[in-house]
């Protein structure tokens, strides 16, 4: 289990991760979604003790990474598949990792077999394709047979065959009862791989729920056209709606038509259009993560 509580990270004036809290449970694949630059990698690095948090804490099975005595046996991570010295062979790479946590040499051979690299175990990593490097990275993550796995963008740059392999592999790991936490910026991919979602945008938590629920929520938005869009946006935001501007209209997620209509009556706004929309999942995700945090009012008299 991974638990993140009030995690915050600033780089100069930029708050990259902002008061982020969530929990990742065992037995499921949990997707960690957000656009590029939304703080996913920084969060992963804080969980793994590679970057210090300014505030808050991240724990694996109740302990922070730096308190783990044999970390590779507690959590396996793939953070950068290219991070291997090219002149080293695949088997040498997993062997030094095994030695680092007192894991047997046989296990090193075993994990290469699990990811289908046994035939190229003696070859130098420099000559590996991106897909092979990703497999090696996954083998390295599995070396200590850990109950928790964290993969940062594992499908980046993979061909469809490789993507399908990783997807099935991760689901298999979760079926064994492990905690599998996978970050990605591709909503469509996560819809296929994960059952739970943690969605972040600009370092803040947007949603932490099942894929099913998120899909349902994102699928039914409400479109509102009105000459008093800014007033409506403010009123809706106060009520807790997620919204974004789409041309001369507002797209509202999480509220029914009836609720939006009631708010419009209370504000006294003229309504030109109030209609249900069926946004595509990808589109809803993009809009949510890009615009949910900051509603930018339209320039008056423009």
């Amino acid at each position: 289990m991974i638990e993140v509580r009030q995690l915050t990270k600033r780089y100069g004036p930029h708050t990259v991760v902002n008061d982020l809290s969530f929990r990742v449970d065992p037995g499921k694949v949990t997707g960690f979604l957000g656009p590029n630059g939304s703080g996913k990698t920084t969060t992963a690095r804080m969980i793994l003790g590679l970057t210090d948090a300014d505030e808050g804490v991240a724990t694996i099975g109740g302990r922070t990474y730096r308190d783990l005595r044999r970390p590779l046996c507690e959590i396996g991570a793939l953070i950068n598949a290219g991070a291997v010295i090219p002149s080293r062979t695949a088997i040498d790479h997993v062997r030094w990792l095994a030695a680092a946590n007192g894991i047997s040499k046989q296990r090193a051979d075993e994990v290469l077999g699990m990811v289908g690299l046994e035939a190229v175990a003696g070859r130098k990593v420099g000559g590996f394709s991106l897909g092979m490097k990703q497999r090696l990275g996954i083998a390295a993550a599995l070396i200590g047979d850990p109950p928790v796995l964290l993969f940062d963008e594992p499908i980046n740059g993979l061909d469809p065959e490789g993507i399908r392999w990783i997807r099935t592999f991760m689901q298999g790991l979760a079926a064994e009862g492990r905690t599998v936490f996978v970050s990605s910026h591709l909503m469509s991919e996560m819809a296929l791989t994960a059952t739970e979602l943690i969605v972040i945008g600009q370092g803040r938590l947007i949603a932490a729920e099942s894929v099913e629920k998120f899909t349902e929520r994102a699928d039914s938005s409400v479109r509102l056209r009105s000459p008093q869009l800014d007033e409506m946006a403010t009123a809706l935001a106060v009520e807790g709606a997620s919204l974004w501007r789409n041309g001369d209209a507002l797209e509202i997620v999480g509220f029914s038509i009836e609720q939006v209509g009631a708010i419009a009556a209370r504000v006294g706004a003229i309504v030109y259009e109030l209609s249900p929309q069926r946004a595509s999942l990808e589109e809803a995700f993009m809009q949510l993560t890009a615009a949910v945090c900051e509603y930018v009012p339209m320039q008056r008299g423009a």
Binding site: G49, P71, A83, L97, A98
Partner: protein, 255 residues
């Protein structure tokens, strides 16, 4: 710490690569000594009785170690910079989140390899040097009284420079920067110092790492230079200072 040492030791595999470093160090030591000793032997007929009396047979035979030191220092530098430049250092920190232990383990394992390389390089250079000098009766042989201290000095010099390489690598993180600094200190600085007026040279020269190494391996003392062990202590001071800065950067600044 045991596991961390095992990790760094395992990284030194495949041994054929590590032994290539050792072989390079020996090769440089032997060939440079051979050139210098052969030149000295060829010049022997012009030497006066006094020249022969003051001839530093041990020091000349260990001249090649000054070349081997470059290979050993680079060996130390690369164990850090190759990990930082590829990003593999993050994987290392995943396996051992206590970063200073990683640094300590690298120092110990690489220092041990440098020690073995140092013993082999110094003794083989000495053997070749003495054989060549012996043709003109300039050899002191293995029973020379100054030999143990000169050999020990040579090995200590190589081990310290390996440690300095590791420390510079931890501090600078890129191979180009760390090796440039190393080469500047060992090769360029002595050349620059030699152009300065003699009175200035006498004051500065003793602080140069290369001079400290040379006088540690010499049988003769020079009043303008540190005695062998004082010199090595000064060099150890340089290494410790760099190491402190490197350790701070490694622990505090994330890769």
């Amino acid at each position: 710490m045991g596991h961390t040492l095992a990790m760094e030791w395992q990284k030194l595999r495949p041994f054929h690569k590590t032994s290539r470093t050792v072989a390079t160090a020996i090769g440089l030591a032997v060939s440079v000594t051979a050139i210098v000793a052969a030149a000295m032997a060829a010049n022997a007929k012009h030497m006066t009785v006094n020249d022969r009396h003051t001839f530093d047979s041990v020091g000349i035979s260990l001249q090649g170690v000054n070349a081997a030191v470059l290979a050993i220092a680079a060996f130390g530098v690369l164990c850090m910079t190759r990990e930082y430049s590829t990003g593999m250092i993050s994987v290392t920190f995943l396996a051992q989140p206590r970063r200073l232990r990683v640094l300590a383990a690298k120092l110990l394992t690489h220092g041990a390899v440098a020690g073995v390389a140092g013993v082999l390089a110094c003794t083989s250079a000495f053997a070749v040097g003495q054989a060549l000098l012996g043709t003109e009766g300039l050899a002191n042989g293995w029973s020379s009284a100054q030999l143990p201290s000169a050999l020990l000095g040579g090995v200590a010099y190589l081990m310290l420079l390996c440690g300095w390489g590791v420390a510079l690598g931890a501090l600078l993180r890129t191979s180009a920067a760390a090796i440039t600094w190393m080469a500047s200190l060992l090769v360029v600085a002595p050349v620059i110092v030699q152009i300065l007026p003699e009175s200035v040279v006498h004051r500065i020269e003793r602080w140069l790492p290369s001079q400290i190494g040379a006088s540690a391996m010499s049988a003769h003392s020079d009043p303008h230079l540190f005695s062998p062990w004082v010199g090595l202590a000064v060099l150890a001071g340089y290494v410790l200072l760099t190491l402190a800065a490197g350790a701070w950067r490694m622990a505090r600044i994330d890769p």
